[in-house]
């Protein structure tokens, strides 16, 4: 590892892997940093060393990661694994934490490809031991071949929840129930997006096959759900909710035993590093999330910073990979490794393919909007898990004149803990907007400052 590269890519998921491999091919001196032990990111986590039979259970889309990881490893790019970026500022100095020691790296260009996180799903009891994200359940399967040993219940919405249910079925996990919190979006809202979605019909077929498999396995699926709560004293004991019966008014109360509850309501960009680098944000009303302002090449509002994949706005793994390649072409052009015309020639096919993979998004975003109840939770529900601040305290701060998340933070300590708002930021902005009547753009988002990871002064001195 050197202390300077022409190009530094952060994140070894599909976007970062493709960016680094492509950049190395174009002759750039490039390093790829990731905090995981092996390349792959979230979707292809551990794909290089996964064992049978788990690899087969995870499905064909997972195994697609193998050739991409191979392409990267063969590309000549430097790979810096097990390295957490704990520092990044607007001067673009990057601090890595590797095995207890801090190292600083500079680069002429930075490609941020830090991926997505699951959208927080605050509901009563979500902080209890035994409640995790569905992605966490999947990570345990991919990286440790672990599955819930007793009754597991899945709750939430979106394609990834269905995928994880399907993967669990392949392994033989008995799923107690799926609690579907998707608000009925109505066919009429979907219709306008359908023609655009048709070129990517394979995505829809895949989703359908998951739904059929779940049906065939006889797993109870509850729809039109409200009042979802995780209950228990020291840990999760049961999950309760009400469900509609179809005629709109009649509701049944259900209370089921569970040892593990996996929550998921879609993914949102992991904004930490782009924000620290000073990249401009914009609100995406359809995706109900913030994203990074960028052009087709991934150029952000900061000159030396390009962004690719889900960290810049949710696009999915295939589109992210293509965006990574476009970023690499642009960085190579900016650093005088490729002229304009060959850059554009190389980009033509990538852009066409990118269009196809992007075409499904508006349809999916409309089909699976996050439910209001978990964006604007009840007053008693914990919003900030770190500092234990509930929704009522945030509403009160907004009523007392806090017009943005940073004031709410100063007032309530919400967002002041180590996650720096990753698990409360989207909820806090939504609560303030709802309480004050301001738009999300007016409300804005938390500021982010290093360190992003726990670090001791001793580790700093180890540089």
């Amino acid at each position: 590892m050197k202390d300077h590269y022409q190009l530094l890519v952060i994140g070894a998921g599909p976007a970062g892997l493709a960016a680094a491999a492509e950049a190395a091919r174009l002759g750039l001196d490039v390093a790829l940093v990731d905090e995981q032990k092996a390349p792959g990111g979230q979707i292809y986590r551990n794909v290089g060393s996964i064992q049978e039979p788990v690899s087969t259970y995870l499905g064909k889309d997972y195994l697609r990661g193998k050739p991409l990881v191979e392409e990267f490893l063969q590309s000549g790019a430097t790979y810096i694994n097990s390295a957490s970026v704990w520092y990044l500022d607007e001067r673009l100095e990057t601090g890595l934490l590797i095995d207890g020691a801090s190292h600083f790296i500079t680069a002429e260009r930075l490609i941020l490809a830090t991926g997505a996180q699951e959208r927080p799903m605050p509901l009563p009891g979500w902080q209890l031991p035994g409640v995790m994200t569905a992605g966490a359940g999947q990570i345990l399967l991919k990286s440790a071949a672990m599955i819930p040993s007793r009754r597991v219940v899945l709750a939430g919405s979106g394609p990834l929840l269905l995928l994880i249910a399907w993967q669990y079925l392949q392994v033989g996990v008995k799923i107690g129930a799926i609690i579907d919190t998707t608000p009925g979006s109505g066919f009429s809202k979907l219709l306008p997006y359908l023609p655009r979605a048709l070129p990517a019909f394979d995505y829809l077929l895949k989703g359908l096959s998951f739904i059929l498999a779940i049906k065939k396995a006889g797993i109870p699926v509850y729809k039109a759900v409200a009042d979802l709560r995780a209950e228990g004293h020291e840990s999760l004991e049961s999950v309760s909710f009400t469900t509609g019966l179809g005629d709109g008014n009649k509701r049944t109360e259900i209370d089921m035993e569970a040892e593990t509850l996996l929550l998921h309501q879609g993914v949102i960009p992991n904004l930490r590093l782009p924000l620290a680098a000073g990249c401009e944000l914009e609100w995406d009303a359809l995706q109900q999330s913030w994203k990074i302002v960028k052009d087709i090449w991934g150029q952000s509002s900061v000159d030396q910073v390009l962004v690719a994949g889900d960290c810049a706005g949710i696009v999915g793994a295939r589109a992210g990979e293509l965006q990574g390649r476009l970023c690499a072409l642009q960085a190579a052009h900016q650093l005088k490794k490729i002229d304009l015309q060959p850059r554009d020639r190389a980009a033509t096919r990538i852009k066409r393919s990118l269009q196809r993979h992007l075409s499904i998004r508006p349809f999916l975003d409309t089909l699976y909007p996050p439910a209001k109840a978990y964006q604007l939770p009840d007053d008693e529900t914990l919003v900030c898990r770190c500092e234990e601040v509930n929704a009522g305290q945030i509403r009160e701060a907004a009523r007392m004149g806090c017009v943005g998340p940073n004031q709410v933070k100063a007032f309530t300590r919400c967002g002041m803990g180590p996650c720096q708002g990753c698990l409360c930021g989207s909820t806090v902005s939504a609560l303030i907007a709802d309480e004050t009547g301001a738009s999300m753009e007016q409300v804005g988002y938390f500021r982010v400052r290093p360190p992003f990871k726990p670090i001791t002064l001793g580790e700093l001195a180890n540089t």
Binding site: E118, Q127, V131, L140, A144, E234, S235, P418, L423, L457
Partner: protein
């Protein structure tokens, strides 16, 4: 709470959690090991002292901060298990920048 898909044929190593010895598979994260060993809490929160276990497993939520080999505030989901590691429940404050 969690078990291995296939309990046979895994290489294991020894570590201790809260003073008790466990055999856990090589290559997994400390947070995974904690769940596999059936530990019911890995930290108590600084504000209310309530118990927590890993939530995201991907380095986002910081609910997995533990004291590992004597060092507090270690992100258990991002650290791999090592032979003879000593793992303890973290009590209270989770800090990003620490003095020691």
């Amino acid at each position: 709470m969690f078990r291995l898909v296939d309990e046979t044929s895994v290489d294991t190593l020894k570590l201790s959690i809260e003073g008790r010895e466990y055999d856990v598979p090589v290559g997994i994260s400390v947070a995974a090991a904690v769940l596999l060993c059936g530990i019911t809490r890995l930290r108590n929160t600084p504000v209310s002292g309530s118990p927590r276990l890993p939530y995201c497993m991907m380095g986002i939520c910081f609910d997995c901060l533990m004291t590992i080999d004597g060092f507090p505030n270690q992100q258990a989901c991002q650290l791999e298990v090592r032979e003879n590691m000593t793992i303890e429940i973290q009590q209270g404050a989770a800090e990003l920048l620490q003095q020691r």
